[in-house]
Each structure stands twice: as C-alpha cells, then as structure tokens.
C-alpha cells in the first residue's frame, strides 16, 4: 500500500513535469489518433477489396485492431519507458534508484508517464464500440468481464515482454534492436489476424514472443471464432495465464539483472 502511494506521488510529479511542455502533450495525442486512423483506413481499403481475409470481415478486423490499441493504451501510458532503461544504465542514472530506501522498480516505473496513451484509449474505445454495433454482438455480463480481463492481460503481456527486453539491457547495454523486433511483430499482429500467415510465424508470435495473446487469441473467443481457428482455438482463453507466466519470468530476469548491476555497476 505504501509502495502504491509512493508510486502515485511519483506519477504525479512526472505528470507535472510533462505539463511543462504543453504543446508536446497536445501534438503527441493528436498524432497518435491520426496514426491509428490511417492504419484503420488501410485495413478498410484492404478488406473492402477482398471482402474477407481468411474468413475475417471488415468489422472483425476493426475489432481486432481496436482490441490491440486498447490493451496497448495502458502499456503506453504507464510502461512505455521500459525502453529507456538502457539510457539509465549507460548514463549511470540508475544509481539514484539504489540510493533511496524503497524498491528500484517502483522508482523506475514512477519516473515517466506517456500522455499519448490517452490517444490510444480514445481510438480503442471508439473502434470497439463501432465494431460491436456493426457486428450485432449481444454480450452479457460474462463477455464484458472477459473483455476487461483479456484487455488487461494483453497490457500485461506487452509489459512483461518489454520488461524482459529492458532487463536484458543490463547485459547487452543496448536493447533498442530487441525493441524494434517486438514493435515489428506487434505491428503485424495488431493489423492482421495471424491465421493468414504461415505456421512458423504463428509459432513465433504464440510461443516465442507471444504478442498474439495481446489481441488475436482473446478476439477469437469474443468473436466466436474459436471453431474456425481449429486446433489453435483453445488458446483464446489462455491470455491471463500467459500474462502471469510472462510476468513471473520477467521478475526473475529483472532480479538477476539487478544482481548483475550491483556487481558491475554497468
């Protein structure tokens, strides 16, 4: 509880820091909305030409995309700065986290907040609502609960992957290239149902860097497409499990990284 209180205070001060640069704040949010709108339009053009993409209609694709954006919004709001870990290590600013009588992770996480995440929330919520009505979905409490659970799981999956990559930078110093790989995979899975790709790609985004759990698998379940996905269909329920597993791995790697830092200082 104490940690949470400190975290909120840290976030508060980061927010006030950000607000010092108001213009940056506004342009950031606007550009995220524009970026997402362009992406959605491209999907629209693509699906309109082919009518269906491996059994996915236009609004199902919109649902898939908006689901990803929704999960991603919380990640980008609160955890985006995992990719700045390498700067803290290279410049030695990580030291100051170890100088204070509280945990290092909470200090690092409280260091920054990315307003552009708000743009993601707006786009994600709008997209999901539009898709819901066009697909004539009629959800009960169970589906809504599952939506919330799996959106949060998606956030945690992306966060855990970023956390692992940033921890690796304690060994490699630089981690930007690994983040690029994650972003590329993310870009593919956010826009297209991964069943249009070959098996090897599905194995990679399911087992190796499991970004497919951010939106693809939970969408299968929520859109009633598990049958269609065949032997992969059962994975639709697994994103909370994957999220917890990944967070566990991330915590282990992080602790090893901290131990390494305290013995090398770099």
């Amino acid at each position: 509880m104490d940690t949470l209180r400190i975290y909120l205070k840290l976030i508060g001060i980061s927010m006030r820091s950000r607000l010092q640069y108001r213009a940056d704040f506004v342009t950031g949010i606007i550009s995220v909305i524009v970026l997402n709108a362009v992406n959605l339009t491209l999907i629209g053009i693509l699906v309109n030409r082919f009518v269906h993409l491996n059994g996915w209609g236009l609004w199902e694709m919109v649902f898939l995309y908006s689901f990803w954006v929704m999960s991603h919004s919380l990640y980008s709001l609160l955890f985006w700065h995992f990719n700045t870990m390498e700067d803290h290590i290279v410049q030695g600013t990580f030291d100051q986290f170890l100088l204070r009588p509280i945990g290092t992770l909470v200090q690092f996480l409280g260091r920054e907040i990315q307003y552009i995440g708000i743009g993601d929330v707006i786009v994600g919520a709008t997209g999901l609502t539009l898709a819901y009505s066009h697909l004539h979905l009629d959800w009960g409490i169970y589906e809504y609960t599952w939506l919330v659970v799996s959106v949060l799981s998606g956030t945690l999956v992306e966060t855990a992957i970023a956390w692992i990559i940033s921890s690796l930078s304690f060994w490699t110093t630089r981690s930007m290239s690994a983040f690029f790989v994650m972003m590329r995979l993310n870009a593919l899975t956010q826009q297209y149902p991964i069943d249009i790709f070959g098996t090897w790609f599905r194995v990679v985004v399911t087992g190796l860097i499991p970004v497919a759990f951010i939106n693809y698998y939970p969408s299968l379940l929520l859109l009633g497409k598990t049958e269609q996905a065949g032997s992969w269909g059962w994975l639709g329920m697994m994103s909370p499990v994957v999220a917890v597993l990944l967070l566990g791995i991330a915590l282990l790697v992080w602790n090893r990284a901290l131990r390494r830092y305290s013995s090398t200082g770099s």
Binding site: R5, I6, K9, L10, I13, R16, S17, R18, Q20, G92, T93, D95, Q96, L98, L99, R100, P101, I102, S262, S263, T264, G265
Partner: protein
C-alpha cells in the same frame, strides 16, 4: 562510524574482438580482463569527522563510495556503515546516509525544487515537524527559499548543488557522502557550500566523507585525508602531517632595493632569481625565516618579503608520483 577492512572490488570487462561478426562472437565466447578498481583498502572514519577522500581520476574513489552507499557489492572484504553492511541491507543503509554526486542531480529536472523535497519527504518518511525544522535550517544556511520555486533545470550549478545538499540531508542522515560537491561551481558559491558543510558537521554531528579535486575543499574542511591511487590507500593522516612529512620546506621570497648578483645564505638554497626578486628555499626545521631575513637584510636593503607555504596540491601530486609507497602516519 565507517569501517572498511580489506575491501576489494574487481570488474570483469569483456575483451572486444575485432573483425567479422565480432559483436556476435563476443556474445558466445567472451574473453574477460579483470580490473581491480579497489585493492585491499582499509580505513576507519570516526563519528563527526570530515574526511577528504582524494586521488587521481580512476583511482577507485567513486567505486568505494558506491560500495559504501549500497549501490555496488564488493568482491571481497568487509565494510560497515554505522553497524549496517550496506549491500546486505541496502534500504536500511539508505535511510541513514545522504549522498550528493556533483555530476548528477538527484532531483526531478522539470519541477520546482520544493516539489522534489516534498516527494523525498514521503520516500524517507520524514515527519512534518522534522521537515519544517529542516526547511528552516536550509532557508537559513543555504538560502533555499530564494530558488525553491524554480525548476531544477533553470538553476545555476551552485544553486543546484545547494538544492541537492538539502535533498540529501532532510531525513537527518548520520553520514553524508559527497562525490565532488564543488565541481564546476564558482569561488563564491564554493565558499557557501563549504561553510554549510562545516556547519552541519558541527551542529548536527554529521560524519562526512568527501571526494574532490579541489585542494581548498580539503584544507578548509577536512581534519583528515585519505589519498588513494591504483585502488590502494597511499596516505592516511591529517592535513598538517602531510605538510610535515612531505613539505618540510618553505620558500622565502625577498624583493631587494636594487638588482644584485646572486648570493648564497647559509641553510637556504637560492632556487630562483628574477631581477630584484630572489627565492630561497629552506627547511623549516633547520632555519627560521627571521634568521634568514636578518642575514639577507644585513647585506642588502629589503623592500618586500613573503614566506610561501608549499601548496597542498603540490604535495599530493608528489605523493601520487611515486614518493608515496604505502605510508601510514596515523
């Protein structure tokens, strides 16, 4: 207060390979070189002391401070800070120490100083009473109130250092580590910082370990200094002792009424001559300045004279340059 025995810290560095795919090959079969940054250092610091910790760049000063503040784990040896082993109980140690690193600020860059202080108050669980009392002290001695509403990025270096000192002291630490607290600061601001450090040491019995390249910091603040080089302690003693041991010689500079040929004086050596000015070096145990003045004045009328003390910086340099085998002048 601080006890360091046979402290050693080694760093493993990957030996970079050259040529095709060198980066990838480094990942798999890396060769290491081992660098011993701190090599079997032992010293004690008593409560209430201000100890200068000096040595050339790369001597191991910062590494030692990082071990004492719990950032780094030593390779071997024993260290204790007020009864706590820093790397075993980092958080407990963090509560009882304060640290200022002159090169990096601990404060939040974009918000007013006072907001950083308020946040640190929560992090260190400082009571309202303690917070108010300390703020008054900081206003008084550091003139914190003149810039506490300014964002850190707009502060001058001297103000920033004062803000950092306030941030490091508001939880009433028993020990203060200062790593180059006066670096880049102008002379007037330096003097303010020194006065403040002396004050909190005297008033609140804060033990201070400070590294610096400015020998005036040492002369004005420290009762004792530790000189380290190549990871080893090469001198541990008082500032006066270093003068006695390494700097027994003084220089008498006389300006005569008119230009005369070089001449010699018993128990002194003419080291420089420039027109009417002559420099005589003498050992203060063998000769006294007044003797020399009488002798010289007896021969030629003297217009002006000064006695130059050896600069501490010069002495330290001569210790760095090999004069200093391991000397213990306790």
């Amino acid at each position: 207060m601080i006890s360091v025995r046979h402290l050693t810290k080694e760093f493993k560095r990957v030996k970079r390979k050259e040529g095709f795919l060198s980066g990838v090959r480094n990942l798999f079969s890396a060769e290491y070189t081992i660098k011993r940054a701190v090599d079997d250092i032992s010293f004690e610091v008593r409560e209430g002391e201000i100890v200068g910790y000096i040595g050339p760049n790369g001597a191991g000063k910062s590494t030692s401070i990082k071990m004492l503040s719990g950032i780094l784990v030593p390779t071997s040896g024993h260290l204790e800070v007020n009864g706590i082993v820093p790397y075993k109980d980092r958080k407990a140690n963090a509560r009882q120490i304060g640290a200022v690193f002159g090169q990096k600020t601990q404060l939040w860059w974009d918000v007013p100083v006072i907001e950083s202080l308020r946040l640190l108050k929560d992090i260190y669980k400082v009571s309202d009473r303690q917070y108010k009392r300390n703020l008054e002290i900081f206003n008084d001695l550091l003139e914190l109130d003149t810039f506490c509403q300014t964002p850190v990025r707009q502060l001058s270096l001297g103000q920033r250092m004062r803000a950092d000192l306030a941030a490091a002291l508001q939880h009433d630490p028993k020990i203060l580590f200062l790593d180059e607290p006066t670096i880049g600061v102008d002379i007037v601001a330096k003097e303010k910082l020194r006065t403040f450090i002396r004050e909190i040491n005297r008033e609140f019995k804060v033990t201070v370990l400070l590294t610096t390249h400015d020998m005036w910091d040492i002369e004005k603040l420290c009762s004792r200094m530790l000189i380290i080089d190549h990871g080893q302690v090469i001198y541990d003693g008082s500032v006066e002792q270093i003068r006695d041991t390494y700097g027994g010689s003084r220089t008498l500079v006389v300006e005569l009424e008119e230009e005369v040929a070089d001449f010699s004086v018993p128990r002194a050596e003419l080291v420089k001559s420039e027109g009417r000015k002559k420099w005589f070096r003498f050992n203060r145990l063998e000769a006294s300045p007044s003797d020399l003045i009488t002798q010289i004045g007896g021969r030629y009328p003297i217009v002006d004279l000064t006695v130059e003390e050896p600069e501490i910086e010069q002495l330290v340099r001569s210790i760095y340059q090999g004069q200093g085998r391991r000397t213990e002048v306790m």
